[in-house]
Symmetry: C3
Subunit: 137 residues, 3 copies
């Protein structure tokens, strides 16, 4: 049976989302089943009206330019592109938290279309409790 | 045997504490045994002299007002209220890190009374290594 | 067989690195096998030209002085010293992410010498999927 990874995506910061997406890519390539659960800032970052313009960093904002130049130099895809590729390659499900959707007052069609569904925390905890790897990002 | 979840609560920021509390509520409702381990900012946020006045956000401080309005609109309980309810409902233990207690120079009676005890990191690692779900928040 | 802990060290902030190092110390003392995977800011914080001068906090920067005084009062070793001691005591491996190394344009000899090697995310995910405890810090 495939190994499983469950990740709470609380963050909406581009640096942390990139770190998370690299791990998801690797897990998908290793044929793991992956479940992401978007909480507050995660839902925000996946909003169609936010995803392109969001430049927030969680730490060391003063080094943002240097990191961006490094990412361009190594031709690293964006975090959203990494997730798209991971979904094409493997078994990656992206769930948005129903409470966070209400807080932002948005519907599933307001999020980028790689989001699969809207679920409650109890359903995600079921996935997590069956997983081999669990992260809160 | 009940599934177990162990969570390091390093953060003292209200947004992350709320995300954590939602997950704890869900786990308690699913009859999981839950252990929280309060590290540096976690102990700070559970101090009686801090808990009510703490408004710190970990990310996107400029959107704090919008999130607060969303939380009021959906009638979401505060993170501390969610944890109280989870403790009444299920098996949730809140442990404060003994090192963090020393750094803040506080005693157990200085923390809100839903904190169960003060333990060392080795004891928490024992809980974590028996757990199905582990998070660092 | 020894229990295992795998930790993604995304952060480069001194407060979170200290919380992480306390957990690693405890796990090493409990004879767990520990794998750290340094991502973006983690690699940055382990750079020889950064490690001594880095004072960044992830939250509550205004309380940095109070925390530093508390750490001195309880004679807590620095996070890097805690990791050195944990490596001497137990089975702790520190892996730097190959992508992060490229983004910072650094080589293994540019990092402090407690870093063991440079690996890709897929290799770390293998360690994580065999672990009893997994954290993203």
């Amino acid at each position: 049976m495939a190994k499983k990874m469950s990740v709470v995506v609380f963050t909406g910061s581009v640096d942390r989302l990139t770190g998370m997406a690299v791990l998801v890519s690797a897990a998908a390539a290793s044929e793991m089943e992956v479940h992401l659960f978007l909480q507050l800032w995660g839902v925000y970052a996946f909003r169609k009206d936010v995803v392109e313009k969001n430049m927030n960093f969680s730490e060391f904002s003063e080094l943002k330019q240097e990191v961006h130049e490094g990412l361009v130099r190594v031709k690293a895809p964006s975090w959203i592109e990494l997730l798209k590729q991971a979904k094409e390659l493997g078994n990656v499900k992206i769930h948005a938290c129903s409470l966070a959707m209400q807080i932002w007052n948005v519907k599933k069609e307001d999020l980028v279309d790689i989001v699969d569904d809207v679920i409650g925390a109890a359903e995600f905890i079921d996935y997590a409790s069956e997983s081999d790897v669990t992260f809160f990002v």
